[in-house]
């Protein structure tokens, strides 16, 4: 039994069957990659996992509890953090403030009207945020406006913000899309380090095979809304069905 269990999930948009009978099991503390050609339904599946979309059929269980029908913030409180294809950070805030927000948001996300106390008096939270920035090698950028950073730095910050919440499952949606090669390799190293050092499960949606094969312990191939195979990376590489799904499309 994995930490994330997807059973028979189907989703239809008008006349398009985006997902049908998707079954997926993500083992705890593994790195699970979901790959597939364009239009295979990867992003739709991810949106079903985080509460942005509600599937028409099937169930999604996280740690034995259903996530269906819960708002994104409630699903995050269950311990799922998400990294977006284009980094979603607080562009108008400084890097330090970006990191402070998830540090203030405790896991239960309870609303606190701390309108009179000063941010600078919250020593514990400040320390936690500074520590996380150092871990992400961004301490020198702490007073920069987040929007002014490079794509790679924004991605690093976003991952750091997710990690500061100590999630049990980290979902990444094409984390290296649109990145320069050096930034891609940095991101791969960062993710490797995270999965080695932390008690965390990572599910990653990716296009770039280089990223997938350097990270994943387990791979699910999605094609036309259904899983084609789920196997270990070395078996996926030689699998003729996978070749067909990819090459057939490009030929």
């Amino acid at each position: 039994m994995g930490i994330l269990e997807v059973k028979n999930v189907g989703k239809r948009f008008g006349g398009l069957q985006a997902l049908s009978e998707v079954n997926l099991s993500v083992r705890e503390n593994s790195v699970h990659a979901i790959i597939g050609p364009n239009g295979a339904g990867k992003s739709t599946l991810l949106n079903c996992l985080v509460g942005k979309l509600i599937p028409d059929t099937g169930s999604v269980m996280f740690d034995g509890k259903s996530v269906l029908g819960r708002a994104p913030y409630e699903i995050n409180q269950m311990g799922i953090s998400r990294v977006f294809q284009t980094p979603e950070i607080f562009g108008d805030l400084t890097v330090l403030e970006n990191m402070l927000i998830p540090c203030f948001a405790k896991r239960d996300g309870a609303f606190e009207l701390n309108a009179i106390s000063s941010v600078m008096d919250q020593k514990e939270v400040l320390e936690k945020a500074e520590h996380m920035l150092e871990e992400m090698n961004m301490a020198d950028k702490r007073h920069m406006h987040a929007a002014a950073m490079s794509r790679g730095d924004k991605r690093r910050l976003e991952i750091g913000m997710c990690l500061s919440q100590e999630p049990r499952l980290l979902l990444l949606d094409e984390p290296t899309a649109g990145m320069a090669r050096a930034d891609t390799n940095n991101t791969i190293d960062l993710l490797k380090q995270i999965s080695d050092e932390r008690d965390i499960t990572i599910a990653i949606i990716e296009h770039d095979m280089h990223v997938v094969f350097s990270l994943a312990d387990r791979i699910t191939v999605l094609a036309q809304g259904t899983p084609l195979v789920e196997d270990d990376p070395q078996n996926i590489k030689g699998n003729p069905k996978v070749r067909e799904a990819y090459l057939g499309e490009s030929a």
Binding site: V50, A71, P72, Y73, E74, N76, Q77, S81, R82, F84, E88, I89, F90, G91, D92, L93, E97, L100, I101, P102, F104, A105, R107, D108, G109, F111, E112, L113, N114, A115, I116, S117, S118, V119, M120, D121, Q122, V125, H143, H145, M161, Q165
Partner: protein, 400 residues
């Protein structure tokens, strides 16, 4: 003043200085001189400066921090005014209970309206708040006449109960609002040479409330709550995926800014104990939006500057008429004088809206950050000039 940074403290001291010395600052021209009509240091106008300053500070907590643009904030100001006048009618002429009730009633109304309106964001939120405010205006104007006085407005009467005070003064007049014996309308004139400075109790009461409101706004801006509100403006998606429900934050900001509006309404009624429905009309709501944007939305001092700017224009520019213009340009040959007066005439008197509109457009186009951005540009220009003339300054200031 624990945990205020040096910059914030400077700002607070500046606001305190400006408000406390306003009778001097706003009366720079001697009495009877040609420029005397540009003096704004009379109690009625100074009171309006600070009351609308408070209103705009509160509006900025919602609009400047969260980015939610409410087009119905005057409704809370109106509700606050009605609440205060009812307190004067029923309880006593002391302004403290009246203002407390204004703030509470405005808070309750904003809780209700905010709860419904904040289900939507962007333009839909604005339209919802506008709809609520117009409904409240229409109700106050017609069906709720027993409570609001309808078209004539809510006024004090000689037979009001005033259970803790007196219904009438010994002379048989309606008592005036006061604070433990000090009457709000009492003034004291100081004559220095040909200058006359007026110190009004009501004004100083409002000024102290403004300083307290401004201090509270600084605290809110610098608090974790304020940071959350800025995060809501910046990226709601990330808030949601950080396990934070944005609704309680935006609702709290809405209620706080509604209470500021109620406070302003209560003060308005304390200065002049009557309340009319026109205070709730959409033009009044639009005015506070203009003040905030003109001064600089999201900055601390901006809304106060914007409020002062607009109220000054409204009261001073609208008083200039054709005769005054002719006096000014009397030194020119007749034809030229008439020509210049004809050109300037649409911008003065009743046409002051045109001047204000043009200024507003210029600010939005050239200074999107409002008057505050203008000030910052002048400062950096001066600094650049100074470092060019004097010793070269290699260090750069960190961006704030």
């Amino acid at each position: 003043m624990k945990s205020l940074t040096k910059n914030d403290l400077t700002l607070l001291v500046a606001v305190a200085f400006l408000t406390l010395f306003a009778p001097f600052i706003l009366n720079p021209f001697p009495e009877g001189s040609a420029m005397a009509q540009f003096n704004a240091g009379y109690p009625d106008l100074m009171q309006r400066f600070v009351i609308f300053g408070i209103f705009a500070i509160g509006f900025n907590i919602l609009f400047g921090l969260t980015g939610y643009l409410s087009f119905g904030h005057a409704a809370f100001l109106g509700v606050g005014s009605y609440a205060a006048v009812w307190m004067f009618k029923l309880l006593s002429m002391n302004v403290i209970p009246a203002i407390i009730l204004s703030v509470i009633v405005a808070g309750l109304f904003s809780l209700l309206i905010g709860f419904v309106s904040l289900r939507r964001s962007g333009i839909y939120f604005s339209i919802l708040t506008l709809a609520f405010a117009q409904m409240m205006f229409a109700l106050a104007y017609s069906v709720l006449t027993p409570i609001t006085g309808g078209e004539t407005g809510l006024q004090l009467a000689l037979d009001d109960p005033r259970i803790l005070g007196s219904s009438q003064t010994p002379e048989g007049n309606i008592p005036v609002p006061g604070l433990f014996g000090m009457e709000m309308r009492d003034s004291f004139d100081l004559e220095l040479g040909s200058w006359v400075f007026t110190f009004n109790i009501g004004y100083y009461f409002c000024a102290l409330v403004l300083i307290a409101s401004f201090y509270l706004a600084i605290r809110i801006f610098r608090s974790p709550f304020g940071m959350m509100l800025r995060a809501v403006k910046s990226n709601q998606q990330r808030m949601n995926y950080t396990g934070l429900n944005t609704r309680p934050y935006t609702l709290a900001a809405f209620v706080i800014s509604g209470m500021y509006a109620g406070l302003a309404g209560g003060l308005m009624a304390s200065m002049d104990p009557l309340a009319g429905a026109e205070r709730m009309q959409w033009t009044a709501s639009g005015e506070v939006v203009l003040m905030t944007i003109l001064g600089g939305a999201g900055t601390l001092i901006g809304p106060v500057l914007g409020a002062g700017f607009i109220k000054y224009f409204e009261n001073i520019f609208s008083k200039i008429n054709a005769t005054i213009l002719h006096e000014w340009f009397a030194f020119l040959p007749d034809g030229l004088e008439d020509f210049i007066v004809a050109i300037l005439y649409p911008f003065i008197g009743k046409g002051w809206h045109l001047t204000l509109g043009i200024l507003f457009m210029m600010v939005v186009i050239f200074l999107p950050g409002g008057l505050v951005e203008g000030g910052q540009r002048i400062r950096s220009w001066l600094q650049a000039r100074k470092s060019k003339n004097g010793r070269p300054n290699g260090t750069t200031e960190p961006a704030e």
